[in-house]
């Protein structure tokens, strides 16, 4: 894996540190995140799908490691069709819903993806002695089946974070109360925006979720909720969950230890947008996903998201991302700048920082700050002569 530019990192991380001490420490908990995305490389041919997979690691030395190039699985569904083997699991339905695919075709994508994720795990990630691995969720039955035959060590935490809301209905929320009581659910998850003196309602809280696939002992699931909106679904998989004995004979659930590890990864978060909703993820997962999402020639452009007017400056940023990658910006920089830019709306500190560079007038509320940013950037773009490096000057 390649180390991304330390200079960029230090600058960005420095900015983060200015915002809040808790955001980042010099010695973060190391972990690796793996993300994927799919797209149709040929206009009008839904039988050909490209699956892009990438992995990003954060080391205990605060280095961000990225694969030199993403892996691209170029799958032609018709060619890959085969008879259904006995005893294979059902697909969960990850293929984009633009076209109707039968179960067999759905299965091809999930089978290839799961195989590839497991191969990446063994051929790269585990060899680096990684102990926390965060997959882009959901854990599909095919991936769980593959992991299930490998009986991985209980101290390896395998987590999956599902943040694409089109996949939320794939899990059925049910009650799983006891664990959540142990977890002190009220303050469990990240409070990024609050740390930036933003709204109280910006907490991610844990709600209960029970997987519907019959795996009761080895798979646990929670929903991260923000202001009654599901932000992501978190799943943990461990086949040998052995508890730790505490003084007084109590047993500490291994699931809590694993959840804390995931929480630790969220101390340094990165922002992605899904259908114009901001989602804070572990930084490495946000980076890995961002690379996959912007990779490849995509004749099918997704419809423009409907952005609120005071977030318009963010849509400008999103529009420029392809160009940023094309000219060689690193993913840590792209995701990092997006995160800071978004926070400028909530955080007076960041706003004042941006304000200086963008020449904005002071503003007190989120709305005003957002509107000011949007107007300033829109004005510059409309006047012409906008260049991509201007983002680097602004933030």
């Amino acid at each position: 894996m390649n180390v991304q530019s330390r200079e960029v990192q230090q600058k960005l991380l420095g900015e983060y540190s200015n915002i809040h001490d808790q955001w980042f420490s010099d010695h973060p908990a190391p972990y690796t995140a793996i993300a994927f995305d799919s797209y149709y490389p040929e206009w009008g041919n839904p039988q050909r799908i490209n699956l892009v997979v990438n992995a990003v690691s954060i080391t205990s030395e605060a280095d961000i490691l990225v694969l030199p190039r993403p892996y691209v699985l170029d799958i032609t569904l018709e060619e890959a069709l085969g008879p259904k083997a006995k005893g294979t699991s059902e697909p969960i339905g990850l293929i984009p819903k633009t076209f109707a695919y039968d179960e067999e075709r759905q299965g091809i994508i999930e089978r290839n993806l799961s195989d590839f994720l497991v191969a990446l795990l063994y051929d790269d990630i585990l060899k680096r002695d990684e102990r926390l691995i965060i997959f882009q969720g959901p854990f599909s039955p095919k991936l769980l089946g593959r992991l299930g035959y490998r009986n991985l060590n209980h101290d390896i935490t395998l987590a999956a974070i599902t943040f694409k809301n089109e996949w939320f209905p794939l899990n059925v929320p049910e009650a799983n109360r006891r664990l959540n009581q142990d977890l002190d659910r009220s303050r469990f998850f990240i409070d990024i925006e609050r740390s930036c003196h933003a709204r109280e309602k910006a907490f991610y809280q844990l709600a209960d979720n029970k997987p519907s696939n019959g795996l009761e002992e080895v798979l646990k699931s929670w929903i991260a909720v923000n202001n009654n909106r599901t932000v992501f679904i978190l799943e943990l998989f461990c086949q040998f969950p052995s508890g730790v004995e505490l003084p007084g004979g109590r047993i500490k659930s291994p699931w809590i230890t694993k959840l804390r590890a995931v929480q630790e990864s969220l101390r340094f978060p990165g922002l992605v947008f899904e259908q114009s909703e901001p989602i804070w993820l572990p930084f490495a997962l946000a980076c890995a996903y961002d690379i996959c999402r912007h990779y490849g020639r995509r004749p099918f452009k997704e419809p423009e998201s409907v952005w609120k007017d005071y977030w318009e400056y963010l849509s400008f940023y999103e529009e420029d991302i392809e160009e940023m990658y094309r000219v060689g910006w690193e993913t840590a920089e792209v995701v990092g700048r997006r995160s800071l830019l978004y926070l400028a709306m909530f955080s007076p500190q960041i706003y004042s920082f941006v304000k200086e560079k963008a020449g904005l007038i002071p503003a007190a509320g989120e709305f005003d700050r957002g509107m000011n940013l949007s107007r300033a950037i829109k004005g510059e773009r409309t006047r012409g002569g906008w260049r991509i490096n201007r983002w680097r000057e602004i933030i």
Partner: protein, 567 residues
């Protein structure tokens, strides 16, 4: 037609038992019911006759000469016909003789007898022009096909096929892994070249084009779709030389109680009463039809008392979990590098994956490479080595490592046993209660559901209790390659004609006129799957809990359970 004497390849079952030295065909009954006088009333075929035509075809020699090139053919000399069954039953000393290669030789011996018995009828069929002065050509190709029909096998025989099925790996692009349909497609370029050279030599072919044609025909013959029905019948059909050989051979080597009549009598009665219809289909007339029924019933019986016998299945399930765990672990570590080698270098790692085949090919190389290094007890030694490697896996949990260590110890106990007593004692300890049965349901839906429940239980509670689910086979083993999909359903390309639709009405005096696959065998089939709960850690795990849990989940999902089906 003259009496026929055959040279013999190195077969150590039919020849050493003296079963095919001289097979006297009596055609009196056949001539009578067919009202057909053009075949001799009696005829003798065999491998050791003093008189008759000497026809040393030399096919085995040609293939043997290329054995170093055709590695897959060399490998089957070491693959046991029944995987680990011989070791489990304490037939360790016979295990090295009971090989896939020996079986292929035996099938070739039977194939030649079969061919010789039908040959007099060829000139009265539509294929007579095709066969004109070409009998030797087709007979030799038939032998090549029979010698090579098992080259797609991996160690552990059908157990590995079930493993591949479970994890959805294959060595045949776009198909499930079946050794018996397209084995030559799985071979590498060098192996195919070796076969072509062997074919060229033994058939005295002069051009590459002829060789390619002969190779293609060999592939079709193995798949049973050559278009020459009686050759397809001999090589890959419901009653082919392969089945005749393995049924008698397996009974002999495993000392399984037989209900069939004496082997030589069966063979004589069967071969004496077969003929060809004008279309070239094999007529199973009178006694031959009864022999067929008997053989297929015996096959069903063998499934019950040998192939799917619960005690044997219990250890085969343990073995298959070891093989799956080892293969998935090994292949995961090597898949990415293999794919990287094949990736298109245009700035990205880009490939058009059929990862099922990539994994299947990698698995074959890994397992065979390890297997052929052993000098004896190959199947058992490999399993023990796999257990050891799994117990040393740095990424595996300690509990799982210990479990594989324990499984290794259990299997090591079979190294020196001389009877099935050890198997009985072990199974008394590990099989939870008795086996029970689930109805297959429409298109096997209940079996699929039960398998999913069992798989989830294994993932949810790993390294303790295993649940084995296996379907009883259909009565008629028509090859899948002869099932053709048509707009209105599946059409079977039949090669046999029998006396009537109802097997109960077949008799010695009836001519074969009715397609075999259209017969009603429903009363002879068991539409069930056998379920076995195996507690590999008795004393530490409560097997009954898992038995109850599995049954409860099955019932919740509408799976019908029968405590017994053998009434």
């Amino acid at each position: 037609m003259n009496d026929r004497e055959f040279s013999h390849a190195e077969d150590n079952f039919w020849l050493e038992k003296g079963l095919v030295q001289e097979v006297p065909l009596g055609r009196h009954q056949l001539r009578k019911i067919l009202k057909f006088d053009n075949v001799p009333e009696s005829m003798s075929i065999g491998v050791n006759r003093a008189r008759g035509v000497s026809d040393d075809l030399g096919v085995a020699d040609c293939l043997d000469d290329k054995k170093t090139q055709i590695q897959a053919y060399a490998n089957i000399t070491k693959f046991n016909q029944l995987g680990i069954k011989d070791y489990l039953l304490g037939k360790t000393s016979a295990a090295d003789l009971h090989t896939r290669h020996a079986h292929s030789m035996g099938a070739a011996v039977i194939g030649r007898l079969y061919f010789a018995a039908l040959e007099p009828f060829v000139e009265y069929t539509h294929t007579r022009n095709l066969f004109k002065n070409q009998h030797s050509y087709f007979e030799k190709l038939m032998l090549v096909a029979l010698y090579l029909h098992d080259v797609g096998h991996l160690p552990y025989s059908h157990m590995v096929e079930a493993v591949f099925d479970e994890i959805n790996w294959t060595r045949i692009k776009g198909a499930s892994h079946r050794h018996d349909e397209v084995p030559l497609q799985q071979l590498g370029h060098e192996e195919k070249s070796g076969i072509k050279e062997a074919i060229k030599t033994c058939l005295n072919l002069s051009t590459e084009e002829e060789t390619e044609q002969a190779f293609d025909l060999t592939q079709d013959l193995i798949a049973g779709i050559s278009g020459i029905p009686f050759l397809d019948a001999i090589i890959n059909s419901s009653i082919d030389a392969d089945k005749i050989d393995y049924i008698f051979r397996d009974m002999e080597y495993t000392e399984t109680r037989a209900r069939l009549r004496n082997t030589q009598t069966w063979l004589t009665d069967f071969l004496s009463n077969i003929s060809l219809s004008p279309e070239g289909l094999v007529r199973l007339n009178g006694e031959a039809a009864l022999c067929t029924l008997e053989l297929l019933e015996e096959r069903q019986f063998l499934y019950r008392v040998l192939y799917l016998e619960p005690k044997i299945r219990a250890f085969e399930k343990i073995a298959s979990v070891i093989v799956i765990s080892w293969l998935t672990r090994q292949v995961s570590s090597k898949l990415l590098s293999t794919l990287n080698e094949k990736a298109v270098s245009d700035g990205v790692f880009q490939f058009k994956p059929d990862l099922r085949k990539e994994k299947g090919d990698l698995a074959y190389l890994l397992i065979v490479d390890k297997f052929i290094r052993y000098s004896s007890h190959h199947e058992l030694t490999l399993l023990l080595d796999m257990c050891q490697e799994l117990a040393d896996d740095p990424y595996r949990d300690t509990s799982a490592k210990q479990w594989f260590g324990e499984l290794g110890k259990r299997l090591a106990g079979f190294r020196e046993v001389q009877s099935s007593q050890h198997l009985i004692e072990e199974c008394n300890e590990i099989i939870v209660e008795e086996p029970f049965y689930i109805a297959k349901g429409r298109d096997g839906q209940y079996v699929r559901m039960a398998r999913e429940i069992a798989r989830n239980l294994y993932i949810d509670y790993p390294c303790g209790v295993l649940i084995d689910i296996v379907e009883f086979p259909g009565f008629l083993p028509t090859p899948k390659s002869r099932h053709f999909v048509a707009p209105n359903g599946v059409i079977v390309g039949e090669t046999f004609l029998v006396p009537g639709e109802k097997p109960s009405e077949w008799s010695r005096n009836k001519i074969g006129r009715f397609p075999l696959h259209c017969c009603d065998f429903a009363s002879l089939e068991k539409q069930f799957a056998q379920v076995l709960v195996i507690n590999t850690m008795p004393g530490e795990v409560n097997g009954m809990y898992f038995l109850d849990l599995f049954i409860r989940r099955c019932r919740e999902n509408g799976v019908k359970i029968e405590p017994s089906i053998w009434r």
